[in-house]
Subunit: 101 residues, 2 copies
Amino acid sequence: MGDDVFRALADPTRRRILDELAERDGQSLFELCGRLATRHGLGLSRQAVSQHLAVLEAADLVRTRREGRYKFHDLNTAPLERILNRWLRPDVPGSTACGST
Amino acid sequence: MGDDVFRALADPTRRRILDELAERDGQSLFELCGRLATRHGLGLSRQAVSQHLAVLEAADLVRTRREGRYKFHDLNTAPLERILNRWLRPDVPGSTACGST
DNA sequence: ACCATAGGCAAGTGAATGCTTGCATGACAA
DNA sequence: TTGTCATGCAAGCATTCACTTGCCTATGGT
């Protein structure tokens, strides 16, 4: 476990998506496309962003909720908190649970 | 800055190398090869590990010091500490410095 | 000097990755 | 129902990446 998290964080575009969601939770796919374009200068297709979101969701870094035909995305920092302790604080209780990733 | 750090952490073998160095600093290339093989079951060539170490060193996650014909590797957690704050504590002073990575 | 040891450099290969293109699905409005 | 909007699925392409192979440098022991 945690493998998907590191892989998800490897791409700079996905990190910018996390930045966007950290600033404003609950954005839809098109909202993210627009903000990545206008604020970060990234001219990505809708599918490109969709695939990035799928990777982030698989890593549990992004939670989604459907409402009608919209799908809203929320940032989930729990996997990040679990990962830090691996090398930074190796003797915190619970940090050994992800030691074999 | 920080881009190399995420890329370096993306590979599971490199993460195991960091585990090894976290447990015992100052290992040489051959030492790491041996311990990755015996303790993690990874049958990697010397060059494979060497290239991984080069990536980790480029990301400043590993510091090296030469002594004679030996080259010892030490873990450096500073880049990790800088990265945490990006999404976990966005309002800590100094965390804005790596916001555009 | 000789040889073994520790490490470095560079080209080549197979697999994974990011992105595109095209078509399909489901929800809402007219 | 018909059309449109938001999203999903899948194949194809170009790049990147991890690993190997082969040769080279340098240090230390004998």
